[in-house]
Amino acid sequence: MNAGPLLATDRAALILQLVPYLIGKGEVSLAEAADAFDVDPEHMRTMVEKLTVIGLPGEGGFWQMANDLFDIDWDLLDERDLIVITNSVGLERTPRLTAREAAALLAGLQLAATLPGVGDSGVVQGLLAKLARGASSAPAELIVAPDGVDDVRVAVAAALRAGVALSFTYQAPDAPATTRTVDPVKVHIASGQWYLQGWCHLRAAVRTFHLDRVSDVRLTDVAITHGEENVPDLFEPADTDVAVDVRYRAASAALLADYVAVDTTSVDGAFETARVRVGDARSLKRAATRLGGELEILAPESARQSSAAWAEAGLAQYR
């Protein structure tokens, strides 16, 4: 019952944004406008067509006259998929940001400010003030706590800008340290963790590196050759992943999602059993002790045993 009017309100909000956009553009293709409004081209065509029944109220009991309504160049739209407004009756200026829109952007800006070269440029401070002033009412305060910039992050930013490979020591958990040369492609920042995705010269493939595990970083003078590489999503499962069966309290399911891709689950009272995929079965011992008692590794046996040994070795320090 609520969905109807809500959707209509959202559609009205889109029309209020569409008019100034179209007027600003003068002439724009259906495809470009659709892209800008996150809708498909046919939806955009309908929106533009419907615009022509919107206008000023009729006067003195008469229906609206043509020049009281928005109008478009129908030939251009029908024949060439181009949008041009030929008569406008208001709404030419962009509406203010809603409190929510401002809040969403303000929080995003605080995160963007942690990037080397962005936060220190003064741009963010100016934007914070402008967004607050451009909102229709005071946005709720959403704070993203700042995070320190370090040498590794600065070096990665410099390599990205200069388009050169980076060389560094990489210490993956439970593996010997290696020296890597990497063409940087993308830095992912998720849950406060920084990851570099890039073309690893050693592995001759795209790899992801947690920046906390990177040290002795330096820029090379080797221009990157794989900068345009299509990188997979950060935690996209890989072919090399291994399957592990786990059992955990259903309430902890969200916690588990932080570590692994969950395949199948079956519920058994307050517990769930799932098959999860991980890059390295050894890494799950860390999740097992972190979630101490909330997560049981059922199979393979080796992963189960390494969890027990990991907990045992940890405890031995306190005996």
């Binding site: 829109e101 995003g108 305060e141 049981e296």
Partner: protein, 333 residues
Amino acid sequence: MAKEPTRTAPEERLVNLVVALMATEQGLTKDTILSSVAGYREQSEAGASKDALEKMFERDKENLRGLGIPVETIGDYADPDDLRDARYRIPTAEYELPADIDFTPAEIAVLNLAGGVWSESSMSADARSGLRKIRALGIDVDAPIIGYSPRINLREASFAPLHRAIEQGRVVEFSYLKAGEDAAVVRSIQPLALLEYEARWHVYGIDLAAGEPRTFLLARISTEVRITRTSFDLALRDGAGERALTGLTDLAARQRALLEVEPGTEASLRLSRRARPADQGIHVPYVDIHILADELASYGPEVRVVEPVALRDEVILRLERALALHTDVRTTA
């Protein structure tokens, strides 16, 4: 050429209403609106009851205000509560993005990045919509800031109702499971700010039982958040985000754990970013003892807690439970 009357979609009626209310200086009465604005007019002429139309108008007005559109009511000066002859209008100056706000190409490039950070769909839609409004100003964009994909993760269902309650200045109630305790306690707070700190969302507000500001972890809210009808003064929100952040930073400065770490291990790499060297090991500041204990337990033999004792006990507890679970006979054979 006059248009044939057809049934008007509700969004068209809403936009017609905005156009009409912005075109008038002195305001339109409800009667004028219902008999002349397309969308109401057809229904009026088709014999819809005045009562039904007035209700529709009230709803439309509220929906527009929900979009941040300032629908102004000009009442009777002699009796402001008498709305029979009230006039309605939308003041252009309050509707439009102020003409003197402009954005440089460099600012637009940063905003484009900022608009893409939300993983949660409703915040993401709001950010994109805001960005679209700014882009409609027709500003050139600098070369995009490439090579970065910053994300704000948001899994907690309590975020949306808390955000709404902060906007509206309403008291909320929820059950909160304090770490280390078994029973959740119902809390009643005036929510003032939401804060992401160390990748976890917190709500900061006045706890009505304690009469003091408190910070709560969203992950520990164990029921739905109920927005009550009790409102509070929106001025309480001023500077609340800053106070919340200072509160957590001060807490982290006061609480620190003394740890011994095995060099070259995952524990050493991950902790050293936050640590300061101590005589015997390293000092790591923390906000929540249970969250730090979770992390330290994951490092197994790579780290040993020297103090505080409470933290040490929590880590040992997790290790013991994990050991018990993996050495006993398996739960399912």
